[in-house]
Symmetry: C2
Subunit: 79 residues, 2 copies
Amino acid sequence: MKVRVTVMPKAGVLDPQGKAIAQALAGLGFEGVAEVRAGKVLMLDLAETNPAAARAAGEAMARRLLANTVIESFTVELA
Amino acid sequence: MKVRVTVMPKAGVLDPQGKAIAQALAGLGFEGVAEVRAGKVLMLDLAETNPAAARAAGEAMARRLLANTVIESFTVELA
């Protein structure tokens, strides 16, 4: 079962990578880019076949390893 | 208008970051993780208000800067 974990910096947390991308886009001539936030996406291929259990496993992995919950929030979706 | 660009390594392209995460999950006792693929997600806040134009802008930015289309594929969604 495939599970997608998306990890984003929390609102209010500085995101220098996103800022750099926004500046680079402006430098390339793309106008009207108000903000860029850069996050990670992890596609997990799990042996688990129960959707609820797979989602729960993804959340446990995100909390334990994939996200730093002090500064990042995460969402888990079945994919 | 918010646009989400998701960038993933193409199938067949080695993904050492994903491999390292899979090994770390196994080391933490998470079983049944067959594969992890690690990608990026960029949330763009654009001044553009037309959905089709915002999506087209996101695709142009992905092709030009956000993704390396030799080894990465990307998807663009309105968010």
